[in-house]
Amino acid sequence: MNNIVEKRREPLSDTKLLMTITISIFIVMYLLAMGLLGGGFLHPQQIFDMLNDNASLIIVSCGLTIVMIGGGIDISVGAVTSLVVMSCVLYLNNGGNIFVAVLLALGIGLAFGLVHGYLISYLEIQPFIVTLAGMFFARGMTTILSVNPQKVTHEGFAALRDIKIEISWLGYTAKNGNLVPARMELGVVIAFICVIAVFILLKYLRLGRCFYAMGGNQQSALMLGINVKRTRFISYVLSGCLSGISGFVFMMHTGAGNATNAAGMEMNAIAAAIIGGTLLTGGVGNVIGTFFGVMTLTTIKKIVVSSGLNDPWWQNITTGGMLCFFILLQSVVLSRRNGKKK
């Protein structure tokens, strides 16, 4: 028995164990890529490119992580992102101002979050169906707004979009002798802020603990005096808001609205969260893991491309294989751990 617990080192918690596995695999994979493939992987810009391309994915994954830790699912995130992009583009092109556009983005996300949260926690409808309907609605509304791609013509926005944070000491010298600094988009900063905010929420706020408790054992959470319905409601509202922010960041990256924006983003986000060690059963997960989940997914795709396997199908097959690997790994690791206890 545990009589001699005194100063024994604590084993890692499930959350930390799964996250550690993911981060290690990411680092090993990246180092291997640097060693074997060289090229782009040797430049820090590679990482910044990955971040620039995936800022909005990182943001929605944060929201999804919150929902999944609470034991739910939100598959509307990609569609909401797309709707936000289209709405903001049209609003800006009709002479709106940027500040209001930001509010619009947040408002749309919030509205989706509120409706999802209400239907799921207070009317007790299955989250999959509710957010599926949310996804249909958002996609449909996007095409109702405009079927054709819309480019932002708003000048103020263009200025905002073109802000790049240049980090010269991470740059490299191009063939023509010019120094090319590493470039990072504003969206990445926003993404980092989101990751840190969600990290703080989950780790240091009472609310965050309630998400874990609710996902760990809903009945227990109730007995421990947590308002489970309200907590669940808030988790969907947060996910909705983050989808709104993600939409704005997406627009800053592409500068255009298109009905097919962010297609399949929800599944990428779920995959990222799973790879990052979040369990769909709830109660286990971490937003830092999710961040590395996104990076791992992206790195695999980059490696596949750099290996000369240019066909797009290779990317998806390796992603699928990776996902399969992680899911099985988690299943085995956790069942062995739980088995040991008995």
């Binding site: 545990n2 009472r206 874990y212 227990s220």
Partner: protein, 518 residues
């Protein structure tokens, strides 16, 4: 009464549709006392506790704490009144740390001061002598520790009344001792503890007072010194045989001649079996991950019983026979031939049927109709490609609805909407339809009306007459005496005796259940 009284419950009444679950029950808890609440299934202990914790609302009576009347509408109200409960199933979150579990839901600010909580948790744990630390993930602690963490949480919430609802049922001896030490420490601090358990020895080890309930009524409150084990058992099981041990024999005889002559048949069968009959099933040091090794055999046409209080291991043993839990060792012979029974289907193929103890969880398929529930086991045995046709299944269902007198609107009614007794009959029908050679009935009479109980007992004897071996388990000794020709008595997960012939009387059974002394 006096200042020491912490909690009183007076004239508590609780009705459920069709049942009076608690009838004019009184309960008193004093400061610094461990008070055992005893009773078999359906006695009303858990109802009483749920009223105290705000899960149920009482229909009549009053509750006072330290002389002040209190109204408890929710678990929160209970906590605010200083009543904390630690349930048998852990109601903490396994994915959080010990410290988090102790402080969640009652933090005073929106921020979590993890380090501070861990420090405070460590202090409390050390004070209470609980060997774990605040940073440990709860799910990685043993069940005993988890239970103690729940107690620590309750203690830290300044509870006056601590309810422990079967805290020891999944702990080993060492863990139980740790828990008892904790209980005594708390008692010394003036906390009143209500202790619910099925283990008699434990009651005598830690309790100061015992309150016994039976069938929703108060039997009495006794200081522990004044109530020897055998009397406690008889109070729980409902036969008042204090001081009258010699006369019990005749009493049994009287039962033997009562209505329907059920026992007379039983007597006949007992005689017959003694003569000659071959062994149908034989197990040697059979064990599962739930049951300790035991030997067992049953003859063709014999009715025997496993008896003992709840948690004594009687259900776990028969589950091992049926292969319901993971079988870990032992040899099994059926009709003298060695066989392997690892899964329920193996047992079924060898002609064994098993009516599970927990009807809701392990018995009925609630949404399916009476007809489908009846044919299920036969269907499984027939195999995948030999479905029972609609007309055939209807005929089976109609037959058994009639034979067992199942009261249902139609054979297509979902079984979940039937009353408990009729659900039980449906499951009985399911097994009878497979024409088993050996039928294990684990608490077939639990929670059902008297009439149905009688019907089931008669049925058991009739089956035995037809040459079916039956193992019958019931919390009511009387029922077992009426039906069984041999009783295997279990206590604390061990077989402690086997009674047959003249030893089959209430006094002897209770003595054996309660333990040698007394």
């Amino acid at each position: 009464m006096n200042e020491d009284v912490l909690l009183t419950m007076r004239h508590i009444e609780k009705r459920f549709p069709g049942v009076l679950a608690l009838n004019n029950v009184d309960f008193t808890l004093r400061k610094g006392e461990i008070h055992a609440l005893m009773g078999e299934n359906g006695a009303g202990k858990s109802t009483l506790i749920k009223i105290l914790t705000g899960v149920y609302q009482m229909d009549g009576g009053e509750v006072t704490i330290e002389g002040q009347p209190v109204v408890i509408h929710s678990p929160q109200d209970a906590q605010n009144s200083g009543i904390s409960t630690v349930y048998q199933e852990i109601t903490l979150c396994p994915n959080l740390t010990v410290a988090e579990n102790m402080f969640i839901g009652r933090e005073d600010s929106a921020w979590i001061r993890q380090k501070e909580y861990e420090k405070r948790a460590d202090e409390i744990l050390e004070k209470l002598g609980i060997p774990t630390r605040g940073v440990t993930q709860l799910g990685r602690c043993s069940l005993a520790i988890q239970q103690m963490v729940a107690i620590a949480r309750a203690v830290d919430m300044k509870c006056k009344v601590l309810i422990l609802d079967e805290p020891t049922s999944s702990l080993d001896d060492k863990e139980v001792n740790m828990l008892f030490k904790l209980m005594r420490d708390l008692k010394a601090e003036g906390v009143g503890i209500i202790f619910v358990t099925h283990f008699l020895e434990q009651v005598y080890e830690v309790s100061d007072r015992i309150t016994v309930l039976r069938n929703g009524e108060l039997v009495g409150e006794y200081p522990v010194e004044e109530l020897p084990q055998v009397q406690l058992v008889s109070k729980m099981l409902g036969e008042n045989l204090i001081e009258e041990l010699p006369e019990v024999q005749t009493e049994t005889k009287m039962i033997g001649t009562d209505q329907d002559g059920v026992s007379a048949v039983g007597e006949m069968i007992r005689e017959e079996i003694k003569k000659n009959s071959d062994v149908f099933y034989e197990a040697e040091s059979l064990s599962s991950n739930q049951a300790l090794p035991f030997d067992f055999k049953i003859r063709k046409g014999e009715v025997n019983g496993f008896t003992g209080l709840l948690g004594s291991g009687r259900s776990e043993s028969v589950r091992a026979i049926f292969g319901a839990d993971k079988v870990t060792g032992g040899t099994v012979k059926i009709k003298g031939e060695q066989v392997k029974i690892n899964r329920p289907i193996d047992a079924m193929k060898h002609g064994i049927g098993y009516l599970a103890e927990d009807r809701k969880r392990d018995g009925i398929i609630a949404d399916l109709s009476v007809r489908e529930n009846i044919i299920l086991a036969l269907q499984v045995m027939n195999g995948f490609f030999k479905p029972i046709s609609r007309s055939e299944s209807e005929a089976f269902a109609d037959e058994y609805i009639k034979v067992l007198n199942i009261k249902t609107a139609s054979r297509e009614t979902p079984v979940g909407s039937l009353s408990g007794g009729n659900q039980q009959k449906v499951i009985l029908a399911r097994w009878l339809l497979t024409h088993p050679d050996y039928l294990i009935l684990d608490e077939p009479t639990r929670g059902i009306d008297i009439g149905t109980k009688w019907e089931i007992q008669k049925l058991v004897l009739k089956l035995a007459e037809d040459g079916v071996s039956v193992t019958f388990i019931s919390s009511e000794i009387e029922e077992m005496l009426r039906t069984c020709s041999r009783l295997i008595v279990m206590r604390d997960r061990h077989v402690v005796g086997e009674l047959k012939g003249d030893d089959l009387n209430q006094a002897q059974v209770m003595k054996t259940i309660a333990g040698g002394e007394a």
